[in-house]
């Protein structure tokens, strides 16, 4: 096992600043806020820019399929920045989770489509599904090869053109590629807690599907996709926490009460110091998880559990402190803080809660619970 590299490489820092520049220009908080009640909650214009200008959709996709062939370490850096902007784009669902599934299937053709024009694909599982879950049996493969069933609370499914569907046929589990506008496929929006990453229910009634993985590999492919999603989500959570901390610090440096800058009050300073401390830890943990996933380290499962358990809780705490320390201002719809609170809370449930991941450590590092 190589020593993990926990710092950002120069290339990673360059990627970060490109993404940040683009988001600063095209994804200001008020635009996100304005969009989130409109008919199109996803910012597909922004998505197109990320795809065409930065190749974000194909970052993980090998060069032979038209992607950038970058590692998950770079993908994680993009997620940090998207988290910092609460950007309403389907990056996590498409360029991380679905791409990981397609990669593990060796499905070059759909991958090329994703990389080329930012076609959105999603893995149809509830967003709350943690790694290590049993293979879902909500969709069955009928004798005619079509798929039927229902999957609830799928993240980023609204703008998806391709669905990667775990389904169970007569010969066992498989992963199937279904076009979202195929006859018999239906994607219905749900009212989501997170205003910047929406959920939808996917219903299939005899929809045609192409098998990408069969009984031998489907479960492993699904696990790899979920593990990748969980591990990299930690970087998004880090980005959320950093925005919340920075925004709060900036507010407290400006706002005056009782004749003093609020940020000079020691109780607030100490709370922010503690929050900063845990953010520093989150950066180390998220980097370690990205590095482990990128290098297929034998320690990946531990790294992901540690990162999710720490970063999932931290992002929520940072967003909650952000609201509290903005006082009444933070409670208003007009201030973007709530967008981060809602994303942080939804992210906390996504791909396993912090409690789930912490409990998973029991088996991973040999700390078993009480007997009986």
């Amino acid at each position: 096992m190589n020593a993990p590299v926990l710092l950002y490489s120069e290339i990673e820092e360059e990627l970060r600043s490109s993404v940040r520049d683009l988001l600063t220009d095209h994804c200001p908080p008020n635009a996100v806020l304005a969009r989130c009640e409109g008919p199109g909650p996803y910012d597909l214009g922004l998505w197109r820019r990320l795809v065409t200008e930065l190749g974000a959709a194909g970052l993980q996709v090998p060069e032979e399929f038209g992607g950038a062939g970058a590692s998950l370490r770079e993908t994680a850096v993009v997620l940090e920045e998207l988290g910092r902007s609460a950007a309403p784009v389907p990056f996590l669902g498409s360029a991380v989770v679905a791409t990981a599934a397609l990669l593990a299937c060796g499905a070059g053709e759909p991958l090329a489509t994703l990389a080329e024009d930012g076609t959105v694909a999603v893995l149809t599982v509830p967003f709350s599904t943690p790694p290590g879950s049993g293979f879902p049996d909500g969709v069955r493969v009928d004798v005619d090869g079509t798929l039927s069933g229902r999957v609830t609370s799928v993240a980023d499914a609204l703008p998806a053109a391709l669905l990667v569907v775990p389904a169970v046929g007569a010969d066992g589990p498989g992963l199937y590629l279904v076009e979202a506008d195929a006859p018999g496929a239906d994607v219905v929006r749900r009212t989501s807690l997170d205003l910047t990453r929406r959920l939808a229910d996917v219903t299939l009634h005899g929809a045609p599907g192409r098998r990408l993985a069969g009984p031998d590999t489907a479960a492993a492919v699904l696990q790899r996709a979920l593990l990748t999603g969980a591990g990299l989500l930690a970087s998004e959570q880090l980005g959320i926490a950093e925005w919340c901390l920075a925004t709060t610090v900036a507010h407290l440096k400006e706002r005056r009460q009782f004749g003093r800058v609020l940020g000079s009050f020691q109780a607030l300073k100490h709370r922010l110091a503690d929050l900063w401390l845990d953010t520093v830890g989150a950066r180390a943990a998220a980097r370690y998880a990205a590095d482990a996933l990128a290098g297929d380290s034998p320690d990946t499962a531990v790294a992901v559990a540690v990162a999710q358990a720490h970063c999932g809780a931290l992002a929520v705490r940072a967003a909650e402190e952000c609201i509290q320390l903005h006082g009444g201002i933070g409670m208003t719809w007009e201030h973007p803080a709530h967008l981060y609170l809602k994303r942080a809370k939804a992210d906390q449930l996504a791909l396993g809660t912090p409690g789930f991941h912490r409990s998973a450590l029991a088996a991973l590092v040999d700390l078993p619970g009480p007997v009986g």
Partner: protein, 391 residues
Amino acid sequence: MSSDLRARVEALLAAHDPATTGRPDFLRARFDAGLAWVHFPVGLGGLGAPRAHQALVDAELAAAGAPDNDPRRIGIGLGMAAPTILRYGTEEQKSRFLRPLWTGEEVWCQLFSEPGAGSDLAALATRAVRDGDDWVVDGQKVWTSSAHTARWAILLARTDPDVPKHQGITYFICDMTDPGVEVRPLRQITGEAEFNEVFLTGVRIPDALRLGAVGEGWRVAQTTLNNERVAIGGQAVPREGGMIGVVAQTWRRRPELRTHELHQRLLKGWLDAEVIRLTGERLRQQLALGQPGPEGAAMKLAFARLAQELSGLEVELLGEEGLAYDDWTMTRPQIVDFTGREAGYRYLRAKGNSIEGGTSEILRNIIAERVLGLPAEPRTDKDLPWKELPR
């Protein structure tokens, strides 16, 4: 209850049978019988009786099927405006305002908070300038509940910017139908708009609607604010009352959601809820003996912490369902109903518990200074003229 009081209740019921009397008529009659708030003076809805007797009157009338004045809807009038008018109002003010306030025919709101002041309420910038027999008021207020239904407001405005901030404030009664009053809904993170922003532009207030002396507004406001604080945490709560009951019921009903991690947190939440309940019960027993303790501030602080803890836990417990939200439509609720909506709403709304009516940070300052006797922080703003304060 004294026999006299019981006789008055019976006389009221005899003269105004709740079954056949209209609600407003009954409430007016009750006010005139001195049974509205028995500790108020005779002629102002009371009998000068001990405050503790009120609960008995209420119970007796409720048992007889009499309507109440919907106290949650008119809480600001009852809890804040009325005690202040009683203490500082002129005779004309008292007889003009208290009756319709109590019957609910005239709703009141409170124009204290400002966007630029926050916890430092005394820094408020809304100006009132004397003009003949009137005052002309300009400024902006915020977090005003009921402003869109209110007929009257209690208002703090700065009448002298050249003296230190606590000294230049005057307390007014403001007519919400004045054309210079503009009320805009203030939407919250829950999607709804419980509160309002209120823009005051050239609002004219006759000097006769001033409450207390010019420049004495801060002192007058203490009566208002102390009564706000007393109102919190005074009610007896049954075990598992409030948010813990909702979470515990979900836990019992849905064994498939349980994990050991959530179990430990639930037990901790249940424990905390029970300790807070017992603390409130102890406070109630003290109040019944006429020994109000400083635990009122403690109760608010503890309640906010618990509500946030439990509502966060509930969302996690629900897992996939916790990712959903019931409704983002902007509605205008008249009261906060924590149990009438879904977990996501409770989670978001509970964030306000540690901000509204005194932030948890301010309450901790109050406890540290007034209860523990720790010294105040160095202050530079107390003696400076308001207009020279750094902003």
